[in-house]
Symmetry: C2
Subunit: 352 residues, 2 copies
């Protein structure tokens, strides 16, 4: 079968031919429908994760997938079920987090990540996985189901934020998303029901399709070239909830200044080392005197995938087609890794 | 009656003579027993809060008090009840936080703080306050009740920390307190029941009475001149829970590095502006990839005072006498504001 992989020492994806996998006991054979591409895939290509599956000189890409059960193999699933696989799998070490269904909380060393580090991804015609790592979707979500994975990260972040504010009567009236990439837009659309007023920060100038989408969602676009994150409270309003989805390390700190009293910022980006100066005294003082919170959040577990499925079903009809800009059949997979001004979300379609 | 106050333009406390206050409807008249002194009192003396009670050219000091009800004035309290007053009172503005019994979450402008900013404190022979801002104590805690206020801050911080980690099965095996002042020691003693292993960081060399107390509590003393906060994971172990009680702004950031995966740091100190350099990329990345959390926490509400009362009752017998080093009668109040190498906690005793 065909698979899209990066070979050891290479930085570009290739189409390879490998044997179709056989499911072990408890595993399901899934026929792949669509696999999305995000920034992490480019990190894998650049070698920054640098942990190929054991004994393999290539890494199959892809961690945002949707497929259809080809062989339930004695599990509770049925042939034809639409399913989304989660990303993390246990490494060869005992982990209480996997035992508790909390792979997202496992520390480095206790997990591998399919398509990212230590395990093959889902960009192949078929894949196998234990049934316990699959979330079922209604048939109607088969086309968009590969977005469950990115949305699940926003769901986890929202859960963490809400729980951290559950000691008092928190009002999340104003919500801000830093970043207008696919994760930013999916998060913003999720927040539309949550917050009375929503904002999304990006670096692009008009005309730009993401700005149109932001405004169509009823949110206010903030151009970071005109308004720095720490100026947002005076130019717009202080925020109750901030999601950072830029990976820009200065945003982790200016998020504190963007927050209203009692606000919470959740960080999702993964920056490289970067030394810079901050007014650490002012940030520390603001955190304390205004009861602010800053939370890091990575990946997600099956509970967040399930919520993401529900969120996905509730997005307005026009929204998902507007961000799913770049569909590539397997034969033209390389195009899915190209960026153009109109690209929002690219995905490989294994059905065509 | 006598009161200990700072006059406008002065930076030293004085004994003044003022009229005994009359309780309004719903207010109680309390005879003061003891009032503790902490770092905030020195900030008030230095003028950094700079908001004297309206129409007053002096500010009565003191926010850590215990007293005995002199006149219940028709409230549910009884003459002779031992009581501790909370700190925050509503400013002349509507506040949903006071309506919700959450004065600790009120933003600046919605509150005054007795003895700190905008309202007189408790360092007088009598004070009045609405009964709803009083917590009752058993007679047996009358001598130590002024410590309920500082402990209540640790209780709130612990509640915030626990709630922020309640989305998964968190293990708070290792707890670290930054700071070996009275708040640090009271927090450490509270954590002794909470964490399997506790640590306390200070700047002092042996012999020092706080180090003896730390070790008597079963905790490990960490000398910050030998081990920086960010080195603690390698020299000792990574921490599940960190309480920052130093007000040293660099500690807010190195706390992130002291934490284990999924750990939480709560900041309690209130530093001045201080610009310095951080590896913001590494801190941001650690927060995200290891699900770390950083929470600011200020003051406390009646629920936390009630918990503090319970904690106070459960401390080992030797502990409180060992930190209550400096008792001063009103006539020698000035001594309570002096610092010596053996001073841990000073308080003014209004009974003697």
């Amino acid at each position: 079968m065909h698979a899209i992989a990066v070979k050891q020492g290479e930085t570009r994806p290739e189409l390879i031919d490998i044997e179709r996998p056989e499911p072990d006991e408890g595993e399901v054979l899934v026929k792949t429908l669509r696999v999305g591409i995000d920034g992490t895939d480019f990190e894998v290509l650049s070698g920054s994760h640098d942990a190929f599956p054991e004994g393999s000189d290539y890494q199959i890409l892809g961690h945002e997938a949707v497929g259809v059960v080809e062989s339930p193999n004695g599990t509770a699933l049925n042939e034809g079920d639409i399913v989304v696989p989660t990303v993390r799998r246990p490494a060869n070490t005992p982990s209480r987090f996997f035992e508790n269904n909390e792979p997202d909380m496992a520390p480095p060393g206790e997990y591998v990540e399919r398509g990212i580090s230590g395990a093959h991804g889902y960009m192949s015609e078929y894949f196998t996985t234990p049934a316990s790592f699959l979330v079922s979707l209604p048939e109607s979500l088969a086309d968009v189901g590969f977005l469950v994975e990115p949305i699940s990260n926003a769901e986890k972040a929202l859960e963490l934020a809400q729980r951290s504010r559950s000691t008092f009567e928190w009002q999340d009236s104003a919500g801000l998303v830093l970043g207008n990439g696919p994760l930013g837009l999916l998060t913003l659309a999720m927040l539309a029901d949550q917050c009375e007023r929503t904002y999304c920060l990006g670096r692009r100038e008009r005309p730009d399709p993401t700005i149109d989408i932001i405004e169509e969602l009823g949110a206010t676009y903030i151009n970071s070239q005109q308004t720095a994150v720490d100026e947002i409270p005076t130019v717009y309003e202080p925020m109750d909830l901030v999601f950072e989805a830029t990976g820009h390390a200065k945003h982790a700190f200016s998020t504190i200044e963007a927050l209203d009293a009692n606000g919470v910022g959740v960080l999702l980006g993964i920056p490289d080392d970067w030394e810079f100066s901050v007014n650490g005294g002012a940030l520390h003082r603001q955190l304390v005197l205004q009861n602010k919170a800053l939370l890091g959040s990575v990946n997600s577990n099956i509970r967040h995938y399930q919520r993401a499925r529900d969120t996905l079903a509730e997005y307005p009809d026009w929204f998902l087609p507007s961000i799913m800009t770049t569909q590539c059949p397997v034969s033209e997979f390389a195009d899915a890794f190209e960026d153009t001004p109109d690209t929002i979300k690219s995905y490989v379609d294994f059905r065509v």
